[in-house]
């Protein structure tokens, strides 16, 4: 979704009433959050819409900011290494080894600039991120590949896939992440019953 386009289209409508309405909605939504979450969300929204660089807000970059923005403004965030892998994993809250692999792959890609990586790179980053060790890292990477979060790259390396990127961006919202994973799953062809087959032949 192009948020800038949405913003430009709204220029033509009546500003004052519409703005007030939106402001009320936004404030109502923000009142449900803690103070630090409000600050973080405000910063995220501003960065997300390209309205205001985060340093102008005088706030430190929260991990969520990176996560949201990384998909939209890579040039702004890809070089930013202020977030540690431990913080990143804490924010994303992966539950399974496959999710952990996807998150670590995302971190390698966007925060370390490592596009192609091997299982050992994932394991090393997992150690650096103070995560519990994998039961079997190779199997976890293999399973992440089977679920299309990772894709094969040159010389036996792996790379983060588009689905993997979207999935990690959706975390820690598990419902959203699940729906992304399910929408990307290829539909199985329904098996025709023998009766249907006979019917078709006729």
């Amino acid at each position: 979704m192009d948020y800038r386009a949405t913003r430009n289209e709204s220029v033509d409508v009546n500003h004052s009433s519409n703005d007030l309405e939106i402001l009320n909605e936004v404030l109502a939504a923000f009142r449900k959050l803690e103070a630090d979450s409000q600050e973080r969300m405000l910063n995220t929204v501003a960065t997300f819409l390209g309205l205001n660089p985060r340093h102008n807000l005088g706030m430190s970059p929260g991990p969520a900011n990176h996560a949201v923005a990384a998909g939209n403004q890579e040039s702004l965030f890809s070089e930013d290494r202020s977030i540690s892998p431990k913080q990143f994993m804490f924010e994303k809250q992966p539950k399974t080894d496959v999710e952990k692999v996807a998150c670590l792959a995302y971190y390698l890609t966007h925060y370390r600039g490592v596009q192609h990586f091997k299982t050992l790179d994932i394991s090393k980053l997992n150690t650096e991120a103070a995560q519990v060790k994998f039961a079997n890292a190779a199997v976890a990477v293999d399973n992440a590949t089977k679920r299309n979060y990772l894709a094969p790259a040159s010389k036996g390396s792996k790379q983060l896939s588009a689905l993997g990127e979207q999935y990690v961006l959706a975390l820690p919202d598990r419902e959203r992440a699940r729906s992304i994973a399910e929408s990307a799953r290829p539909r199985r062809k329904s098996r025709k019953t023998s009766q249907q087959r006979t019917h078709d032949d006729e």
Binding site: T119, L120, S123, N126, T127, V132, K133, F134, A137
Partner: protein, 344 residues
């Protein structure tokens, strides 16, 4: 801070889990006591000083351990204890400070290295050089102590645990002499009891020799404290049936207590009463039964027993309770030293 010129022991108390008999559960104890202390709000540094690197393999994935070992010799990329002491062994400079790896919450580890056996070989002549008042001997003998000084103060560590290998070699000698306390794990078997007979006398020799070295030592050299106190013992690896210790193991528990009393506490007290403040049953820190599945799972999953994804919840809760009690006793028994270190 330049760790090579500044001797700053800091407030972290150093404890060695030591028994020169192998297979008594030293590494398992280290991890689980560290996790229990961390759950009580303490910051722990585990130092894998065993060339077998069991503690490192316990907490870090095998592939990463292999990578750490492959790169430990490089001039600037190494991250193991060997990487830190290598310049001293090679006589190319002073120790290199390495960053510990955080594995559990508030538990950090300085990874071990198979090449520590090379360091151990060098420690023998270095010990002789200490007697000859040569600074090189002191530099080598206190290298790990220096490393721990720096890391512990940088990370505001409360307790340092040395995972010592099962031997009475020169490496364990310098580690024990660097400790404020030591804990003796003992398995319920004949060989553990036999090992106790030699433990006290070995420690006595080490302390006496270091005392001589200190008396002869030139000024401006870093010295080890050289007075490790006996914090307690932990009988381990016994089976429990119907709430009681199985008879085949039960007979060893009083024998361990007697052995600790006669072969360790008495021997140390003869030298200096403060070296063994606890005796008899009072010196028992806790009993760790054979937890079976969750002990094995703890090693493979790199988690303390209370957090493993295996076994029955009651079993995990029991393990948590056992190690919490040990951790509380450690805090209570070391509290005078903690207070003194804080004042300092």
């Amino acid at each position: 801070m330049d760790p090579n010129t500044t001797s700053s022991r800091g407030r972290a108390l150093r404890i060695a889990v030591f028994n020169h008999k192998g297979g008594v559960g030293k590494t398992t104890l280290n991890v689980n006591i560290a996790a229990a202390l961390a759950s009580l709000g303490k910051k722990i540094l585990l130092v894998d000083s065993d060339p077998q690197c069991n503690l490192t393999a316990y907490l870090i994935e095998e592939a990463v351990v292999d990578d750490l070992l492959d790169t430990s010799d490089s001039a600037d990329g190494g991250r193991t204890v060997w990487s830190a002491v290598k310049p001293v062994v090679d006589a190319t400079g002073n120790i290199r400070i390495i960053e510990p790896i955080e594995r559990l919450s508030n538990v950090f580890i300085l990874p071990g290295d198979i090449r520590l056996s090379e360091f151990e070989q060098e420690l023998s002549p270095m010990w002789s050089e200490c007697f000859q008042r040569k600074p090189k001997g002191f530099r080598g003998t206190t290298a790990i102590s220096h490393l721990v000084d720096s890391v512990a103060s940088a990370y505001d560590i409360d307790f340092v645990f040395y995972d010592a290998g099962p031997n009475i070699g020169p490496l364990n000698r310098v580690l024990l002499l660097d400790c404020d306390y030591f804990i003796v794990p003992a398995a319920c078997d004949l060989f553990s009891i036999r090992a106790l007979k030699t433990l006290g006398h070995t420690l006595l020799n080490w302390i006496n020799e270091w005392k001589t070295i200190v008396e002869l030592a030139p000024t401006n050299v870093h010295l080890l404290p050289g007075l490790p106190k006996f914090l307690g013992y932990i009988p381990q690896r016994f089976r429990v049936y119907g709430g009681d210790v199985a008879s085949s193991y039960a007979k060893y528990l009083p024998r361990i207590e007697r052995g600790i009393s006669s072969d360790l506490v008495t021997v140390l007290r003869r030298l200096n009463p403060i070296l063994a403040p606890f005796s008899g049953s009072a010196s028992e820190l806790g009993q760790v039964k054979d937890f079976g599945t969750i002990a094995t799972a703890s090693q493979t999953q790199g988690e303390p027993m209370k957090d493993v994804n295996a076994g029955a919840p009651e079993q995990r809760a029991e393990a948590e309770q056992v190690f919490l009690e040990i951790a509380k006793k450690i805090i209570t028994r070391t509290s005078p030293d903690i207070a003194a270190a804080a004042k300092k």
